[in-house]
């Protein structure tokens, strides 16, 4: 059954579809005996691969998956002005009561802040006002970073479920969790509807559920960014569980011979030194895989050691 080749996770494609792209049109095609549904969400090409011959079921599942992706995007995107994130970010120091799902995500973020000793921080997004990783040499000056750092830090947030209160000027951003969360949510909905084996892939963060008839599993190509064609692609065989990738070598600043990677350390406001170019991690769920990958990036040169300590399978590109 050679049919189970998922399309490659191509970070180039991922990067070329910028946030704000609104073309969401879901499409379903039959490719070599399995259904492949595709659509756009969260600034990424998304796909659903289904090992079934039932087109009606495939159509229904694609709708379920796409709807869930769009729902998560609409609800938690920081680019929208009408969702819960916008309300929190515009609360201007006032306490705000949030719904259950948002509370779950905030709870998760709070736990990760602790587990990472402050390296994973959903309030660090405001640093992007100063850091624009566009390949230029526009490295921000230390003063402007220091100024922004006054509004960074989960420890400054008052979070008592279901009530959140930010300091004025602070913002939260679920960008580091949202996509992986959406993948797991969508896969969960598929599992509830059918046992049919499927692969949910949102821009390279993906999960495989349902028993696969092919003994090798789904073949997932991981495009290693920035490298030349020769050893660029690793083939990973995924029977069950998730893969998530963090990192992109195209997002950087270069000044006076120093390369500033796009992974920002929320404790200093400056890019993490010696972060890998990309980290792909295999874990039981996409959320776990994504967090391992993100935390590894934040460990800089200790990324591999961190992942080895966690006992997970990973592919690190330097």
């Amino acid at each position: 059954m050679q049919s189970l080749r998922s399309s490659a996770i191509d970070s180039e494609v991922r990067q070329s579809v910028r946030p704000g792209a609104t073309k969401r049109d879901p499409r379903l095609g039959l490719a070599a005996g399995h259904f492949r549904g595709s659509f756009n969400a969260m600034g990424s090409p998304c796909e659903l691969l289904l090992e079934t011959a039932d087109e009606v079921l495939a159509q229904e599942l694609l709708q379920i998956v796409a709807t869930e992706a769009w729902r998560v995007e609409d609800k938690f995107s920081r680019y929208r002005s009408d969702n819960v994130v916008a309300r929190i970010n515009q609360s201007n120091g006032r306490p705000l009561t949030v719904d259950d799902e948002t509370a779950n995500l905030l709870e998760f973020a709070a736990t990760l802040y602790q587990l990472s000793d402050g390296r994973f921080d959903i309030t660090s997004g405001v640093l992007r006002k100063a850091w624009l990783f566009d390949g230029s040499d526009r490295v921000p000056d230390a003063d402007s970073i220091a100024q922004i750092m006054g509004t960074v830090g989960w420890h400054r947030v008052s979070w008592r479920r279901p009530e959140i209160q930010l300091l004025p000027g602070m913002q939260i951003d679920f960008g580091g969790i949202g996509k992986e969360y959406a993948v797991d949510r969508a896969a969960g909905l598929v599992s509830r509807r059918t046992n049919c084996p499927c692969l949910v892939n949102f821009g390279g963060d993906l999960v495989a559920v349902g028993g696969l008839r092919h003994p090798d599993g789904w073949q997932v190509g991981v495009e290693t960014p920035g490298s030349n064609a020769s050893s660029a692609q690793k083939l990973i065989l995924l029977k069950h569980g998730a893969l998530a990738t963090s990192g992109d070598s195209r997002r950087f600043l270069l000044k006076d011979g120093i390369r500033y990677g796009h992974i920002l350390d929320p404790m200093s406001g400056w890019p993490v030194e010696c972060a890998p170019r990309s980290v792909t991690v295999a874990a039981d769920s996409c959320t776990q895989a994504g967090m391992f990958a993100t935390l590894a990036m934040l460990c800089g040169k200790g990324a591999e050691e961190f992942l080895e300590d966690q006992g997970v399978r990973f592919w690190c590109l330097r």
């Binding site: 090798d216 065989l237 967090m291 966690q310």
Partner: protein, 435 residues
Amino acid sequence: MSTHNKRIIAASLATATCSLLGTSVVAPVQAQEDPGWDFNTALLYYGESDGRVQDVSLNVLARRAFVDDRFLTLGLAVDTLTGATPSGALAYDGPQTFTRPSGLATYTTPANQTPLDDSFLDTRVALTAGWQQPFARLYSFNVGLSASKEYDYLHLGANLGLSRDFNKRNTTLSLGVAFSQDDLEPVGGAPLPLSAMLDVGDLSNRSGDQSKDVTDLVLGLTQVINRDLLVQLNYSFSKSTGYLNDPYKFLSVVDGSTGDPISRTPAPGDSGPLHEYRFESRPDERSKHSVYGQAKYNMSGKVLDLSYRYMSDDWDIDSHTLEARYRWPFGDRRYLEPHVRYYTQSAAEFYRIGLVDGATPPRFASSDYRLGDFDAMTVGLKYGWKTRSDNDMSIRLEYYTQDGSAPSDQIIGNQAGRVLYPDLDAIIAQFSYRF
């Protein structure tokens, strides 16, 4: 914040994820890199001193790993042998003339030299194929086929193995069987055992093609003692039946009091040997038992590998092999590996340096130096390194020396001052590349 601060968060992250997603335990991830092909290539030179055997061989072993620890192995070996090998005849004060194995010409060995058959030249091509896979959780099996071809030899073999893990996979018990069938088509035909070497053109003592069958049985036990020590014990039994002679080996017929070869005159108008020789005769069955023990000990990256083998067969050959290797890594990507091996064996019960003229001929006799009483020592050094693209390369240089002796009760008269056992020195050089 220090990054080398060891912190295991996997369990806490799993719990946090479960509460986020509202799910209970998820099935564990099953992902692995597509293993692909792995090639092991080696170019080996083996050269014996004094113009004896030189062998250049190229070995390619290709291994394709599939998920779930399944492996396909394909091997190709090409050998080119040149040089000469001791024919079994004794050295003597005068020149000796022999009929070539083809029966079509003669060659002469100068006085006081160990007679060598210098027509020794061969190319061998060998192919192997194997498949290995686990089944029923704790079991694994392997099957293999092998074939090799030389101009006078065809080997076909098959093997089957089964292993089972016990004791949390710290113990592995394995059983293997192998069968092979070899067909010999000696140049000029196989000489009848103990028949005399005849004049050029006389093939009346030659028979047709021959064959032998070999069955091997191996019982193995591998035990992980702790994370640094691995021990392996094997018992093996091997039974060969059929034509077990070397068709190109013969013995000198000597005088019972002087020990000199008995002269002979070729038929008028013919050329042929000027002394008497008889082709060797071995039993048509051989059973070998051997036990083997190996221990690999890891001393923080340095690995000591010790092994011992005892072999005993019903030809009365007993042998002991002691071997040690020590892998000594330096830097991240290099290692040195010294190697010593000591081997000693007792002679086969029918090993004779020559046949005595007029005495009742023994039923079996061979003067093949490989069946004699000898000790051998190998010392070597291997240097290995990882290339930039993480492939393994190594060079190995070894020196082999074999030192044997003729049984003292067989030495007659003038033989006392002569070389009765052809000692052997050889150099082994190997370059390996794994990618």
